[in-house]
């Protein structure tokens, strides 16, 4: 093992993605945050610091809990490498995860395996390129023209129903490709109990609803697993078997 740098390994993958993932995320944070500061300094708009603080605190009161809850919810799915992609690009549930699910279904690999993780990373890269191309071309360059020719009724429909129209299809593709009957039932039952029951009874938990469902499903799936299948390594290679 004299030539550890060139040998393909998961450690090398994790090292590269952690280092460059966090560096790129930090640079994007600096650039994005500089936009309003630039405007503040050139605008001559008599905005004082108090107005900004009040405005931000009002937004923070609504979304602050999500800064922690969303990374907690998506880490078990994305792994460390995917976290830096997802929280740079956003659109996690409506674009990046659906792309990862489609790619894993297409090449027939399961989440929770190395191959599944690599497939998801490549899929998110593909989605990121399409995302940037669509933002630059259709919003940046053609946006002002497009908004003048697309009827308002159509824009309104996209605004209101984009998420449910994506989620129905993604849920089905996920269930079909995982083929994990027991885990699917566990997830559906817990989601129904939490979304239609618990959150209605204890509305203060609403911002954490998805995270609660994720944690409960992991716990129940774990304690009801078929140990004979999951708690051993595949004889060739170091792949885990995955959920059952």
């Amino acid at each position: 093992m004299s030539n550890t740098v060139a040998t393909p390994s998961h450690e090398a993958f994790e090292r590269t993605t952690t280092r460059w993932g966090s560096i790129t995320l930090f640079i994007a944070f600096l650039i994005a945050t500089s936009v309003p500061f630039y405007l503040l300094f050139v605008a001559d708009a008599e905005v004082d610091f108090g107005d900004i603080l009040t405005g931000f605190l009002a937004v923070f009161a609504v979304y602050g809990v999500f800064y922690v809850v969303e990374p907690l919810t998506y880490f078990p799915i994305l792994g460390p490498a995917g976290m830096y992609q997802a929280f740079l690009i956003g659109n996690v549930s409506n674009k990046l995860l659906p792309s990862a699910i489609v790619a894993q279904a297409t090449i027939g690999v399961k989440p929770g395996t190395r191959k599944g993780e690599y497939a998801a990373t490549m899929a998110i890269c593909g989605a990121a390129i399409i995302h940037v191309a669509s933002m630059v071309l259709f919003v940046g360059i053609l946006g002002t023209w497009l908004v003048s020719i697309i009827p308002e009724q159509i824009t309104l429909i996209a605004q209101l129903y984009i998420l449910p129209a994506i989620l129905g299809g993604v849920a089905i593709q996920l269930i079909f490709s995982l083929k994990q009957f027991k885990s699917t039932i566990i997830a559906l039952v817990i989601a129904a109990l939490v979304i239609f029951g618990l959150v209605k009874l204890v509305p203060v938990l609403a911002p954490g609803d998805v995270a609660i469902v994720v944690i409960l499903t992991i716990v129940v799936t774990w304690f009801t697993r078929n140990k004979a299948v999951t708690d051993r390594k595949a004889s060739d290679g170091d792949e885990n078997i995955g959920i059952n």
Partner: protein, 249 residues
Amino acid sequence: MVIAAGAANDYLSLANAPVLWILALTVMGVVVVQSLIYMNAVKKNAESAGMSQLEVRTAFRAGGVAAIGPSLSVVLVAIALLPLFGTPPVVVRVGLIGSAATEVASASIAAGTMDANLGDDTFTRGVFIVALMAMSLSGAGWMISTLILTPIFKRSSHKLEKVNPALMGIIPGAALLAAFAALTFRELPKSPTHIIAVVTSAIVMSICLLIANKLHAQWLKEWGLGISLLAGLIASYFAHYAGLGMPES
């Protein structure tokens, strides 16, 4: 409900300043650079997971194709915001962490603290800057907490893996099923049209997958999401204008 800027929209020339265009394009460039680095990392190390270069390319293409439908829908939502915020701020805010819906809500909350509303005369230059500042700082909140939390989560997951290696094989699949079950159920009570959107999209996806399996048509697995998204939106269009939609807020 395309949100038009009020008469006091003298800030729009400011919002479309060349400097901001450069910042917006640079930040999109950072996303591309990150993807290139990640792609390279997968290509180099795929062999260690028994993944062929063909599978690496297939995964990339499948992810890209699957993102076309969602990306075009996001474009439709984003361009509706252009008259209000100007092009570069929309590219930065919708193009990075967050979504069009979150950004509009944040802007509206921040404007409210100055007794102003999105899209009318009260939305002045000063309100615009406060709103954009609040949206940006909130987006920064997600990024900073990801930078802080990811290494912590990573250490704990390595510890868990040592306790029982099977754990890390079970968690991602279970978490994925749970997240999408919860996200989907959360849409259902919003309006009858939301139910129609979910059900139509689900049925069309089922049909696509059945055909794809019968005919071994891999392309249909990749395009299935775009097709079912379009079907869901068309069904929503008719349902919404038949009066089953969300009450206007």
